[in-house]
Symmetry: C2
Subunit: 354 residues, 2 copies
């Protein structure tokens, strides 16, 4: 059916080895032979079989990328960027969506291992079991966004604590005293964000009671449900800090559904700065980070780890916590008459912990 190296060899009157040399641009082939072989390749539209090649070379030139929710434009952007970067380096990307669930994640990782991917960028995972499975299989892995207690892996993440302290301080500065926290499933990431929220409240002498924390799914429906609950409190919050923009979208809708105005009756903040947040109709105050940079750093490091002799990673583990910038828009009641263009406040800078 599909032409193999032998077919080409036969038709070109050379050996399979010579065809291989031509196809791989090894400069040991005579010009005449070369042209003849390439001609036949084109004629049969020959494409090397990567699986067969991988079997012998030990590298498939494929990496896996596991995310929790492709429908979130934030992850969509990450995937697009990473696909581009990896493609330029000759790697294909297998993308998996876990839907924030452990079962699919486990299956996905098993599948990636079976496929002998050269490495994995893991942007999902609620516990360290997935990472452990990859490690057992000897698959180089880099974590993005998430990380686990005491895990020995390269991590490229957000400085969640600083980011959420910053946004909470911003709300406090605007006069808010009762500030809710809207989160998805618990994880180290969410924990750090909660700690950021908590620490900002603490330093202002404000209460961070458990009733101010509302947990739900990590999408717009979750944000809606969580905020509906918070607004049902007797002493309801005047502001909510959401852990993603899509949750914040749901939060704004929840307020609207109760006849409340954002920002007058409820201030809302998000995280990710997806395109929706910047819409004139939405104007969501949120936290932004450099997704392209995160992707680039993670991939560069993965290349290093993949190049290292099996078993150990090259040099010390890298653990980068990228800082965010606060993007102030209208969803928190910016002072009247202020310039409607987004005001940006940067945190100190990137923090590297070796």
């Amino acid at each position: 059916m599909r032409a193999t190296i032998k077919d080409i060899a036969r038709l070109a009157g050379v050996s399979a080895q010579t065809v291989s040399n031509v196809v791989n641009d090894r400069p040991v082939v005579g010009e005449a032979t070369r042209r003849r072989v390439l001609d036949v390749c084109r004629q049969l539209s020959y494409t090397p079989n990567a699986a067969a090649r991988g079997l012998v070379t030990g590298s498939r030139k494929v990496i896996g990328l596991v995310v929790p929710h492709i429908g979130n434009p934030s992850y969509g952007d990450l995937i697009a960027t990473l696909t581009r970067i990896a493609g330029a380096a000759g790697y294909s990307v297998v993308v998996g969506d876990t839907g924030w669930n452990a079962g699919p994640e486990r299956e996905l990782l098993r599948s990636l291992i079976r496929q002998s991917v050269d490495g994995v960028i893991l942007a999902s995972g609620n516990d360290a079991s997935g990472l452990q499975a990859l490690r057992d299989a000897g698959v180089p892995t880099v974590l993005v966004f998430n990380y686990f207690e005491g895990c020995d892996a390269d991590v490229f993440r957000i400085d969640n604590l600083a980011a959420f302290r910053m946004v909470t301080r911003h709300l406090i500065g605007l006069g808010h005293r009762r500030i809710g926290f809207v989160r998805g499933l618990m994880s180290t990431v969410v924990k750090a964000r909660e700690d950021g929220w908590r620490s900002a409240l603490a330093e202002a002498g404000l209460e961070a009671g458990d009733e101010l924390i509302s947990a739900s799914t990590f999408d717009q429906h979750g944000g809606h449900a969580a905020v509906t609950a918070l607004l049902g409190l007797a002493d309801r919050p005047t502001a909510v800090v959401c852990t993603s923009d899509i949750m914040a979208c749901g939060a704004m809708d929840a307020a609207a559904d109760l006849g409340l105005d954002v920002p007058r009756d409820l201030a809302v903040t998000g995280f990710d700065d997806i395109f929706v947040a910047g819409m004139r109709r939405v104007r969501l105050t949120t936290l932004r980070y450099d997704r392209a940079r995160l992707a680039q750093q993670a991939f560069d490091r993965l290349l290093q780890v993949m190049a290292a002799p099996p078993g150990q990673s090259p040099g010390p583990r890298q653990s980068i916590a990228l800082s965010c910038e606060l993007v102030v828009r209208g969803s928190c009641g910016s002072p009247a008459g202020a310039d409607p263009a987004a005001t940006r406040i940067r945190t100190p800078k990137e923090v590297a912990r070796p």
Copy 2:
């Protein structure tokens, strides 16, 4: 490094073939042997090498999915759904993002062919060259959304003409007489949508001049640019039909940036019904279709084609044009006092053309 079937065989004191039988759940193995083998597998955390298996069985259990823009939640949803469906059938999905460009698409398809994917779902492509490449390589392919003149392939698409005629009629019914058309790159899909817009105008005796058509990129920036241009016309439109929700988002912003109110000064419609369209702040009138169904149908058909003897497809080509429903929200100036909940109008029904 990674355990192979031979390692297992040696440690369990059986032949490789027996290990293979155990791993593949073939019921020809004694219970005692079975347990012993499985034990060793677990101990070495053995995972079969899919590439090696694929080499001999001829099937990798992988399909490719090519989309033009992962960052668009509409495609994100499609990917997530398809990943789930395919996973349930034992297939992994390799996702590629072309960014609407021919170069990346070509590269992506070459990569998929090299990887010997069992089949491809092509939701991208501006011309038939990609499809041709897949055909030359003997890779079963199903088209989703897009299609090409006279192409002999299974297609699962939207009835674009009917959909855009419907939405344009809706605007005409609301009293609009000058209606712009905002599109991305030209393609058969966009052409059909334009024809829908044009035919609705024609039947109302309205003008469909070229100056009312504004082309740009298929994202929010494109929508912004295109509508900014339309609003710069001396005799500017009072409504714009956009070919995607994210373009419509940009369109709404463009109006706002010029100090115009949607819907009072400009009516805007989209396509896809992504979650943003339903937000209370946005309330975008748009066209909805059943993404999950589209994905399911396309995958089912791909399975059929993959199961068929190489070369021909099983039975006649399928060409399904799924109809849309109009989701009326606030972006076109729904009559005052109307129920703010979305009103839905269904088109006749699904049209199948064999």
